[in-house]
């Protein structure tokens, strides 16, 4: 007998998907929205995406090298963060702001909290909000969009709608409207979302409850009555689809319990509705997601599932 037998605890076989493969699936799923964004907004958008992604990956690499930690950029999670962050930028954003955002996302939101799996907030959205507050002008400047002045009275379809203007629903579906690089095309985002669902990376628990609860909230409080067209515009606009399928579903910052996922989705829907209808901003998806990220530990605490075969304790108890 050879001396080289391996002795380990069972199971002795493992599944196919590892973290790296899952991250690759997410990157592939973001490609339709990315490609559409580049086509829609031009080469500066492409440069911005490249710079932001590179900034994220290099920040993680440099941090781990400097602290003599194991380099983990091979898991592609920094690429996902960079790509998501860039897709949340207006195409006119200066490259240096993109780079700064990438550094903030990885260094402050992710690495300082312990790296992958330890961050309490979605790094891309954390950085977006940081930039939104620091560089409000740049971050809300959608005026470079071709045909911007003629077609729209205001920045984005939702802002226009909020201001009482009208919106072309078909163009929103295709995505030939102003907005951030990756959020404008509902079709491109949905293609990616379907890919993620088919590959088992995400399921509909969070995005489904998010969208349904948001739709109900808008129907009840939107002040437009039973106007389906209005609800569809609200769902397709303002990065809600991108947020629901790609950012709210971020594993690290969403609940792990099945019931928790549903509560998380409902909280997201209600918060987005409140921010949009009663707040000053027309979008509000980012804020709703990062606020809900903070609630995750609480949500998990109250939704520990009962194990198989454990009967709900009867009132009075059965321990005599």
């Amino acid at each position: 007998m050879s001396d080289l037998l391996h002795v380990t605890s069972s199971p002795h076989v493992r599944g196919r998907d590892d973290t790296r493969r899952i991250m690759l699936y997410v990157i592939i799923a973001l490609l339709p929205a990315t490609c559409f964004g580049v086509w829609n907004f031009g080469t500066h958008a492409l440069l911005l995406i490249i710079f932001t992604v590179a900034s994220c990956v290099l920040t993680e690499f440099a941090y781990e090298k400097l602290l003599h930690k194991k380099v983990t950029i091979g898991d592609f999670s920094a690429v996902v963060t960079g790509l998501l962050l860039a897709l949340n930028f207006p195409s006119s954003l200066p490259l240096w702001i993109g780079v700064l955002g990438g550094i903030f996302a990885i260094l402050v939101v992710k690495m300082l909290f312990g790296g992958l799996g330890q961050n309490f907030m979605n790094p891309a959205l954390g950085a977006r909000c940081f930039l939104m507050i620091s560089f409000t002008g740049y971050m809300t400047n959608f005026s470079d969009y071709p045909g911007y002045v003629e077609v729209f009275s205001s920045a984005t379809p939702l802002a226009s709608l909020k201001a009482g203007g009208s919106v072309d629903l078909m163009r929103m579906m295709i995505g030939t409207i102003p907005g951030t690089i990756g959020e404008t095309s509902a079709f491109a985002i949905l293609i990616g979302a379907i890919f993620l669902i088919l590959t088992g990376v995400i399921d509909l628990h969070i995005p489904g409850t998010y969208i349904v609860s948001f739709a109900l909230f808008v129907l009840l409080f939107g002040g437009h009555g039973l106007d389906v067209r209005y609800v569809v515009i609200e769902i397709c606009g303002g990065g809600l689809l991108l947020g629901a399928f790609f950012m709210a579903t971020d594993y690290v910052t969403s609940p792990i319990t099945p019931m928790g996922k549903i509560i998380f989705g409902i909280v997201l829907g209600v918060l987005t509705g409140i921010f949009r209808i009663f707040g000053a901003s027309a979008e509000g998806v980012s804020y709703a997601i990062i606020f809900s990220n903070l609630l995750v530990p609480l949500i998990e605490r109250i939704t520990v599932p009962r194990a198989f075969g454990i009967v709900k304790a009867k009132k009075g108890g059965d321990a005599t």
Binding site: T8, S9, P11, V13, G15, D18, G117, Y251, S254, F308
Partner: protein, 440 residues
């Protein structure tokens, strides 16, 4: 046909094609036989032979010590060479009777029963006990104990576990295909103990020929039916099988009898038939030798006590290049062996030799909280959290999150994209918590 199943589970590569088409071959050992006195759950058996005694095949060599225990019988004729601790598949040293095989296989004469329907309940249970029958699916719980529930009238289902959900294993499949008649007869004997019960044979739908075969055999049996099950690991887990077949759920503190069920592996039922009808004790056992490193994977009817190494040679030995990992049992719950110099007991059903051990080549990375372990867990636990509590020594949290309900199926480790050793951590903590409880 309605497929039944449970929530959760995983779909590992099944590898059954390697040995599925090979008929069962009787294998008669040549070397010494080792009979650990603890091949079952409960008290170890007490030796009733001494060194130097000559024994026959089928002769009792160790007596059950107490109710929850099982007797052990020699599977060969020969001389008792020693009674001393020997290593078993789990790596533990267990007191064992070693018998030098004389190669003649002279057998005791068994007292058969012409008509089992004339036997009383007590007589049947006694015959099962006298045959040393234990749960042969792996757990090894003494069958006479299982068949003596407090209230026999409350038993509504006798479930034959023919799921064989562990990848690679084909011994139960061969049992059902080649000895299906005995299985049905065994089931009828058990049903005679429980007048209100119906018999259900649960089989995963990756064995359609088996389902057809047993359906044909039970066509005229009013009280027995075949239930096809979805092919999914761990479909053959006792709690999962009960849920699939009856819709009833039990937890770790309950027995199947609390849900009106008794679950027996298919080979156990065949052993019941042999014990009650033929008077023959458990001395043989179906066993699969398989894996990509084996020259000629096949199914054997082995003598209990046969050495693993000897049996591997009988299957042609290892291919050139050898094996990186040897597993006693299935790849999901079996034990990896560091030596083949261990005996096959009543409950080990396979030896798998893998040329490459992929599982231990993966590097563990950070948990990304993806929740796949939660989806896979057939017990609806949160394995990633339980493993955290285990690694941090948080016993009370571990219990609060139902850690003790874990059935150790390994689905969480299998599915984890960060390649964490979830099941291993949870199993370790479970042992510690249970040890604490016993102290109190």
């Amino acid at each position: 046909m309605g497929l039944k199943t449970f929530q959760g589970g995983v779909h590992p590569y099944d590898g059954k094609d390697l040995s599925k088409s090979k008929p069962i071959v009787d294998y008669l050992p040549t070397g010494d036989l080792v009979f650990p006195l603890s091949q079952h759950i409960g008290a170890p058996a007490t030796p009733i032979v001494a060194v130097g005694d000559s024994v026959l095949r089928g002769q009792k060599i160790a007596e059950a010590s107490g109710f929850v225990s099982a007797s052990i019988f020699s599977s060969v004729s020969g001389t008792v060479k020693a009674i001393e601790p020997r290593r078993t598949t789990t790596g533990d040293m267990v007191n064992s009777i070693i018998i030098e095989n004389d190669g003649t296989f002279s057998e005791v004469e068994y007292v058969a029963t012409d008509d089992v329907t004339t036997l009383t309940r007590e007589q049947i249970i006694d015959k099962i006990k006298e045959a040393g029958v234990v749960g042969m699916g792996g757990a090894g719980f003494p069958t006479h104990v299982k068949l003596s529930p407090k209230e026999p009238d409350q038993i509504e289902y006798i479930i034959a576990n023919g799921a064989e959900c562990e990848p690679y294993l084909t011994s139960d499949y061969k049992n059902m295909m080649e000895e299906g008649e005995l299985l049905v007869e065994g089931m009828k004997i058990v049903l005679s103990l429980f007048p209100k019960a119906q018999g259900i044979i649960g089989i995963e739908d990756n064995k359609p020929d088996c389902i057809e075969h047993l359906r044909a055999l039970t066509e005229n049996e009013e009280r027995i039916r075949v239930q096809p099950l979805m092919t999914k690991y761990p479909q053959g887990g006792e709690r999962q099988l009960i849920h699939a077949v009856t819709g009833r759920d039990i937890n770790s503190k309950m027995l199947p009898a609390d849900a009106g069920c008794i679950v027996d592996n298919v080979e156990t039922l065949i052993s019941i038939y042999r014990g009650v009808k033929l008077g023959r004790p458990v001395i043989t056992h179906n066993f699969t030798v398989t894996g990509d490193a084996v020259v000629n994977p096949q199914n054997f009817r082995i003598c209990v006590g046969t050495n693993f190494a000897e049996l591997l040679e009988a299957a042609g030995g290892l291919k050139e290049g050898g094996a990186e990992k040897l597993i006693a049992g299935g790849p999901m719950m079996g034990f990896s062996l560091f030596s083949l110099d261990v005996p096959i007991t009543k409950t080990t059903s396979a030896l798998i030799a893998m040329s490459r051990d992929e599982a231990s080549q993966f590097e563990t990375t950070a948990c990304i909280n993806c929740g796949r372990c939660v989806e896979a867990c057939p017990e609806k636990l949160i394995p990633s959290r339980l493993a955290d509590y285990s690694e941090h020594g948080q016993k009370s949290e571990f219990e609060k999150w139902y850690g003790l309900e874990c059935i150790e199926c390994g689905s969480c480790s299998y599915i984890c994209p960060a390649r964490r050793h979830l099941a291993q951590s949870i199993k370790t903590m479970k042992k510690l918590v249970l040890a604490d409880k016993r102290k109190k």
